[in-house]
């Protein structure tokens, strides 16, 4: 899957959680600054797993040592890319 497709899907998932239009979320946007709370984050991760058929290693109790970097749209896209590649490999 192309990076642009993944990015569009990530933005779409975040937009649904935040009740924003996808056009309001920049590819380099900071997720916390967008206003996503902890429950919203859990829902977004669920949506990513369903959309890409991946298992995202994320524990809400370890924000300082994330196995999956959820800080920005760009970091989420990189993480999803890696998980898709790992699944294929």
């Amino acid at each position: 899957m192309m990076r642009a497709q993944i990015e569009a899907a990530v933005i779409d998932i975040l937009a649904r959680q935040l009740l924003l239009s996808p056009s309001e979320i920049a590819p380099d946007a900071d997720v916390e600054a967008l206003g996503l709370d902890s429950l919203g984050k859990a829902e977004a991760i669920f949506a990513l797993e369903e959309r890409f058929d991946i298992a995202v290693p994320f524990n809400a109790n370890e924000p300082d040592r994330p196995e999956f970097d959820f800080t920005s749209v760009a970091s989420i896209v990189r993480g999803v890319e890696e998980l898709i590649a790992r699944k294929a490999g």
């Binding site: 902890s38 429950l39 859990a42 991760i45 669920f46 994320f58 524990n59 809400a60 109790n61």
Partner: protein, 398 residues
Amino acid sequence: MRRVVVTGIGTVNALAQDAPGTFAAFAEGRCGIGPLGFRDADRLTIRIGAEVRDWRAEDRFAAKDLPLLDRATQYALVAGAEAVAMAGLPDGIGARGGVILGTAAGGIQTWEDSYRAVFAEARNRVSPLVIPRLMHNAPASHLSIRHGLMGPVLAVSSACASANHAMALAFQQIRTGAADVMLTGGAEAMLCFGGVKAWEGLRVLAPDACRPFSLGRKGMVIGDGAGVLVFEAEDHARARGARVLAEVAGVGMTADAGDIVAPGVEGAVRAMRLALEDAGLSPADVGYVNAHGTGTLANDRAESAAILSVFGQAPPPVSSTKSMHGHAIGATGALEAMACLMALTRGLLPPTLGFQAADPECPLDIVPDTARPARVEAVLSNAFAFGGLNAVLAFRRV
């Protein structure tokens, strides 16, 4: 108002299937958490829990009764029989006795089994006993039937505070004269595939261990079990020469009216202060706090801030016994009440297991790893639930 005392306790949990065994485990600092053994556990991401091991229901109950009893009810009945026997309750309490038990998920295993039958296995009918087996009030009702208690009987559901809310209401029934004796506490059996799968989604479960208040903690670990306490009017207990374990001194109940999952500090502070005020205690009288202490980042920080706010910069020792019996959700407050009773009656504070390093955000004396002797006059037991619901109990030595 009448004073209320505890005259009996009983429990089934991951540490032991009775109260003496549970006290021994608290004293030894034994951990009941281990690999999950139920059907389809291999499909879970989180594979640890505090299960009740070697549970042989067929040895505990008549074959004709078992089809009516979800595991939560089975645990409640065994715990209740132990508590009633310890209290030496006479027959004939009838309408002057009741039962108020907490549960968060009720008969979730029964829901799961019947849904599996109709959805996954395409069966067209389920047992006619599914409804009476899964209802949240089944544990309370079976205790009422078994012990002939015909006064106020009901179930209370407030997630992780269910048992504390149940005990608070039971206390008030006796205090205000509506009953002389109440069986109270909680029962939970959420360790089944669907139960853990649902929790996994919140990303708050630890994959390795429960380490409340410690750096390196990764979240909560779910436990199963039941705790039943006999609450009794002091005059009633004294008149029949009953052995009194402790006084139920006061309760505090508040709601955050904030977030549906994130804990608030202010609601927890108010609940602890209300419990102290209700009990006629000052913070300096309290020698031990059994924390809600789930081992999540959010709870332990918020609870630490709340305890410091109530007790000042030198709070009493605080421990979370969830590190041993797991987070038994709607029953957990009842198991933790037993830890409080051990502190009061044996002069021994149960420890917090799993400590690795101090978290600067949780500057508390958490009694790490080993139980500690201490003469304690009064204790608090905290429960701060999802939904922003808080219930704190105060117990006092007699």
